[in-house]
Amino acid sequence: MNTIYDTDVLIIGSEGAGTRAAIAAAKQGASVLIVTKGRIGKSGATLMAAADISVDGASIFDVLGLSVGNSKDSPQIFLEDILRAGKFINNLPLAEKIVEAAPIRVKEMMAWGMKIRGVMQCPGHRYPRGVSTTGREIVRVLNKQLRSVDLTVKEYTFVIDLLTTGNSVIGAIGLDLRTGEFAVFRARAVILATGGGSMLYPIQTGAVELTGDGYAMALRAGARLVDFEMIQFMPLCLIGPLPYRGSYFPFSLVAESVDSLDGWLLNRRGERFMRRWDPELLEKTTRDKLSAAIGYEVKHGRGTPNGGIYLSLAHLPRNILDDFANRTLKLHLKKNWRFEGFDFSFIRDILSRGEALEVGPACHFFVGGIDVDLDCQTSLPGLFAAGEVVGGLHGANRLSGNACMEILVAGEMAGRKAAEYAKQANGSVVDQSQIDEIVTEAQAPLERKGSHTTFMVKKKIQERAWGKVGPIRDGQELEGALASLKELTHEHHQSGLTCKDRVYNPEWIQVLQNRNLLILLEAIIQCALAREESRGVHYRIDWPQQIEKWRCNLVVELTASGLEIYPRNPIE
């Protein structure tokens, strides 16, 4: 027997966007239930952010009351920068709404006790706009606020699918990892705040829960995605040793802010290859160019033995390195070279000896995502979405600080609007056969004697994603990848569990995630193949130029015959 939970607003995801939405919905008087795959405050990307939250310079001065603001800046100029970075395929009205509300939301966070460390200027922003704090601080303040409202949190609950009637969303079904039983959530409105999908790739900066479940669930329920080929890579991450894989520490040293150190990228011939890609800005160019350039060098056999590229600071006097740790603003870097939870003094030693680091791109952020209107509602009545899971604001590329801005502003909007919607929605009856179907499919691997393990399948999916839809793409290879997806899907359906436990069984979790990763992979391949140009973070070797006729969005829908991709004019 499945346990049934009733609520006005169901929020899937417990971090930045999810908690902000919960606070707003509860303040409207709605009953709120947050469910999360992991633990609240111990999952997701939000707590990992460095973090800068973007606010236009004029409002930093006028609204936040900080003297470091700059009255020459304005919401309009900020919007122009967002469009420039997004290569003019952003959802402009959505961007306007988010930029406009950002100062209010950040001021509110400060009133709730968020400590800030100053304002920084990051690449792509014409003025200093990055209100600097930490992700942990954002999470701390939101959780404190959460305790002041009335709501329920259910941890360790992996939501598998949404429940629908007609095309309206009326709840969700999840696997309670603590009991191994399924939980049915009946809700008047549902908010997806499940974050991104960087675990599709073998090296990522983000957290292990981020397998893009929200995108896959949304598609299966009938909602649309936009610009799903737009995946942002963090170019200069450690690729080893294992514990540090995906750490963006090297990026922080040489590229994070306008004030970072001058680092040289060298291929295995010792050539400073950025001269070929951006002779003027070299390593100070944008993240997308760095990622594409590194991907290109490695693909052409000019990488390091471990598949990266060399980052050298050998041209700098040693004390510049030490002084750097003392002056930087955004970094988690401490004077003793602790960065996040790691002691990186061994890296300082490597660099001080004049040796290079091996670095490479790691998947960082899903720029595209679920298509929403100005109330954060998807194309399905009753389904709202906020945070990284949404597409549109960033267009073809995201500026630093704009994700944290988005979670606060869109989170609040989604929570408020979902609560309003819930007030007028009739409680619908959940169709038992729909539940049975989802449960049967989810339980199937438990009973199967598989020829592959679910972890083997995950590895294959990740390798495919990295090779075909990483920082560089190629038409012919994409076609090949699309054709070979059938085989991978077959292996997934053949994969069984060696452990048959229902309670917190990592293999079972993995197979349910693989189901979602495969949809993500196919959607990205299809979009990347369709877009015959290079724009923002999407780089095609065979179409290296940006082409005006492609100034459009690509929309993804799941139909009875599979994924369908079609172009749409940008919303202006």
């Binding site: 992991g38 080893g240 040793p241 679910t454 990592p506 293999e507």
Partner: protein, 106 residues
């Protein structure tokens, strides 16, 4: 890149428990090759992927920020993602009274 330690194998002794099975907690030992630098999380993941897909442990950020991965290693509370392993280890849950399964707790 950085090479650490020579080829060697270590014993990883883990306190296992599942409410579902109802057995008393018991220790299980795995032999894990340690040819490169690995954290406790890397070791647990290795066991998960190679030997025992049912071994449960929590991890999220993998860089010491979320504090969700606390376990006892050789009797001391550590973050499994940042704790580098150099020899044999005994891994136990943070609080034996609050175990869901193996190393995952409430």
């Amino acid at each position: 890149m950085i090479r650490t330690m020579s080829n060697s194998e270590i014993n990883v002794k883990i306190l296992r428990f599942s409410r579902e099975i109802g057995k008393e907690p018991y220790y299980q030992t795995y032999r894990v090759p340690l040819n490169e630098r690995m954290s406790v999380s890397n070791i647990l993941q290795f066991i998960n992927e190679r030997y025992d897909g049912g071994l449960a442990f929590y991890q999220s950020c993998r860089c010491g920020l979320c504090k969700g991965c606390v376990v006892m290693v050789n009797g001391k509370s550590v973050l499994s993602c940042t704790k580098i392993v150099t020899g044999d280890i005994v891994v136990e849950p943070r609080d034996r009274k609050k175990v869901i399964k193996d190393l995952v707790g409430y």
